[in-house]
Structure formats: structure tokens, C-alpha cells
Amino acid sequence: MTLILILALVTGAILFGVGVYGALSQTNLVMIMMGVELILAGALVNLVAFWRFLHPESYSGQMFALVVMTVMAVEMAVGFGVAIARFRARGSVEMEEAGDLKG
């Protein structure tokens, strides 16, 4: 059974790695959000695996996963709100062209 746990954890880790790569390498805001979504998906896999194989008696694990899903939705909503505002103002959601956001 530990095998499955490790399989799941490795999958989560790789998803996390891919997500980090995506979030850092992409120039477009929406693509960066996709990277973040992948990072969160990796976290979700870990959470569920931990709940299932280590503490199935405590439902706080599932609760945590639910909260992460909420975070994904919130991230989408806020991200798109910002994207629209930015696009309206500047005509672009590219990171390379967002130098004016530097403090």
C-alpha cells in the first residue's frame, strides 16, 4: 500500500514541478494561472493521498482538499478580473510589458 502512496506523492511532486516551470516561464498572465492551477493540483493529489493512506479516520484531510479547490476557484476569479482590467487599460496581459507594475 505504501507503493500507491508513494506513486501518488511522486505524481503530485511532478505536477508541482511542471506547474512551477509553467508559472515561471510563461509570459502571459492566463498561462501563468494555468501553472498555478497545476501547482494546486499537485498539492491536491498529496492531500488526498495523505488522507486516504495515513489518516482516513479524520475528515479534516478531505476538508483541506475542499479548501484547496476553493482556492483554485478564487484564484481563477481574481486572476481573470485582474486580466480584464489590465487588458482594458493596457491592451495586453503579457508579463514582459508589465514593467509599470514594478514598485
Partner: protein, 314 residues
């Protein structure tokens, strides 16, 4: 990317997006055949558009070529397949006037009844077309069936169909969603240049697609009453004009609006003519009607004009 979006036109929501030019027609389920509508779409919204007819007549008679009066009438009638009786009548009247014939009340009456019959049929055809555009299958079936009946009907049969037509109108009044679909769409206020026919008469009311629908339904009922009071229809046939000469002008209120024909007759031959129809003016209104509307609304607005591409003279 700023360079890319910088010069793009902004749509109503202030976001610069790619626009695309999409042809609707000449063969499109929701529009009369032969009408080509080119719309520039910003997503589901129309930013601009224009309509052209691919089948319309050209207003020039061939130089020096004289046409026999009978042939002229036949040609004009067959060039306008959606309102052939009206144009046959128009041609007959113009030629008879050019030849100097006096009006004959009995003929006039029969002709007027034929014209009203065609008006009913034409409006029903428009209803069927609208039904197709709105995905209202029942209306398409019902109006098409009635239209076919009326085109074959004698005066007496017409009167038998009267309750069915009244029922149709009542039914449309009761149909849910129809009003919200048509109300406030394609507004043409009275005083807009170039309006004629039902479109102009509806402009006195609210001037939207809903008003036009009811104008046409009312006209169906009015025409029925007229036919009931007057008598049998008679297809317009040219009276004997001999080898008369002269110039003649006639105006007929076709189902789609006023049509005017002036011609020069020489020894029973039509030497030159000039035709003016309502649709030629209405087609120019399309650009204004569709601008800034949603695609569905824009098409409803165009449909509610009841354009006949054949009656567009270029």
C-alpha cells in the same frame, strides 16, 4: 502584444479583440435566399454589416432594344418571384396609362382583390421565414401551409380560411418568448428616410420588429375584409392597347411597400422604363439596424424588414 492590440478598434465593452468578417447568405436558413449579409463580428456582437442582393434587377433597358408590351409584363412578373402579381399589375397599369386607356372599375376591382390576395400570401411567407429564423417550427409549418392554400384559393375558399388566419394571429399573441424576442429590436422611428409599406406603417407605432409583425398581421386581416367586401380576384391581364404610344407612370402598393414604374411606350413596344421599389431603399437601412446589436437580434432586425432580394434594383 501592446503593438498588436494598440490599433485594433474597441468594441462596446472596451476590450480590443479580433473581429471577423462573416458572410451570411446568399443561401442561409434564416434569411431570404439571394440576400447576402456581410457582418463584422466581435464575438457574438455585430460591429458593422451591410446587405447586398445577388439576384436583383438592373434598372437599365438595353439600348435601342424595344420589348413587346406583353413580353415586358411577363418578364417583370417573373423577375419578381416573391410578388409577381403586384408587378404584373404595375406593368399593366403603366402600359395602359401610356397607351392612354381609361380606368375600368370592374377590372380595377378584380385586380385589387388579386393584389390583396398576394399581400396575404406574401405576409404569410414572411411569417414562415421568420419562424425558420427563430427556430419556431410550428409557425413555419402553419404559415407555409396557409400560404400555399391561399395562393391556390378562389375568393370563396379565401373566406373559408379567414378563421384560420384569425386563429394564427391570436396564437402569435399568446406565444411566450415571442414578444421578448422581437420587442425593441430593429427600431426604425417614423421619419426615417426611405421607409414604405408595412415598415413605414409600423414606424408610426413603435417601429420595432414586434410592431412590424403586428402590422403585417393586421394587414392580413384588413385585406381579408376587403376581399370579403369586394369579390373574386382576377389576375391582371393587359387590356388591348393596340399600337399606342406615350409615357406612362404607375404606382402600386406591393406587399413590401410602394413600387413605381415609369415607361415610354412606342407603337406597343416598351422603349425604356424606370422602376423603383421599396426594397431598394430598405436594403440600405440594414447597416444602421445591425450595428452594435447581438447577432441574433441583428438577424431578426434584418428579417423583420422583409427584404426581397429580387426587388432590389441596382
Amino acid at each position: 502584444m501592446i503593438e498588436v492590440t494598440k490599433d485594433l478598434p474597441r468594441s462596446a465593452d472596451g476590450l480590443a479583440m479580433d473581429w471577423m468578417e462573416v458572410p451570411f447568405g446568399p443561401v442561409f436558413p434564416g434569411l431570404p435566399g439571394g440576400l447576402k449579409l456581410t457582418l463584422t463580428l466581435d464575438g457574438d456582437g455585430v460591429t458593422e454589416g451591410q446587405a447586398t442582393s445577388l439576384v436583383g434587377m438592373i434598372n437599365e433597358s438595353e439600348e435601342g432594344k424595344e420589348i413587346d408590351a406583353e413580353t415586358f409584363i411577363e418578364r417583370l412578373a417573373s423577375a419578381m418571384p416573391l410578388a409577381s402579381v403586384s408587378y404584373r399589375l404595375l406593368a399593366c397599369l403603366a402600359i395602359e396609362r401610356a397607351a392612354g386607356l381609361e380606368n375600368d372599375s370592374a377590372t380595377d376591382q378584380a385586380r385589387a382583390v388579386a393584389l390583396e390576395c398576394e399581400r396575404i400570401a406574401s405576409h404569410l411567407g414572411w411569417l414562415a421565414q421568420t419562424g425558420r429564423q427563430l427556430g419556431f417550427a410550428w409557425l413555419t409549418d402553419r404559415a407555409a401551409t396557409l400560404q400555399l392554400e391561399i395562393r391556390r384559393a378562389s375568393g370563396k375558399r379565401l373566406l373559408e380560411l379567414t378563421p384560420a388566419l384569425h386563429a394564427l394571429a391570436a396564437r402569435l399573441g399568446r406565444t411566450p418568448l415571442l414578444k421578448s424576442r422581437l420587442k425593441g429590436i430593429g427600431i426604425l422611428p417614423s421619419g426615417t428616410a426611405g421607409l414604405s409599406g408595412p415598415v413605414a406603417r409600423a414606424a408610426d407605432d413603435a417601429g420595432d420588429a414586434w410592431a412590424r409583425l403586428w402590422q403585417r398581421l393586421d394587414e392580413i386581416i384588413t385585406s381579408l375584409d376587403y376581399i370579403k367586401a369586394t369579390g373574386e380576384p382576377g389576375l391582371p391581364v393587359l387590356r388591348n392597347i393596340g399600337r399606342g404610344s406615350g409615357t406612362g407612370e404607375a404606382t402600386v402598393e406591393t406587399p413590401r411597400g410602394e413600387a413605381q414604374l415609369s415607361l415610354i411606350l412606342e407603337h406597343g413596344q416598351v422603349k425604356s422604363y424606370r422602376l423603383d421599389t421599396a426594397c431598394s431603399h430598405h436594403i440600405g437601412l440594414v447597416a444602421k439596424l445591425v450595428e452594435g446589436r447581438e447577432l441574433g437580434d441583428a438577424l431578426v432586425a434584418v428579417g423583420s424588414l422583409d427584404l426581397s432580394p429580387w426587388e432590389v434594383i441596382s
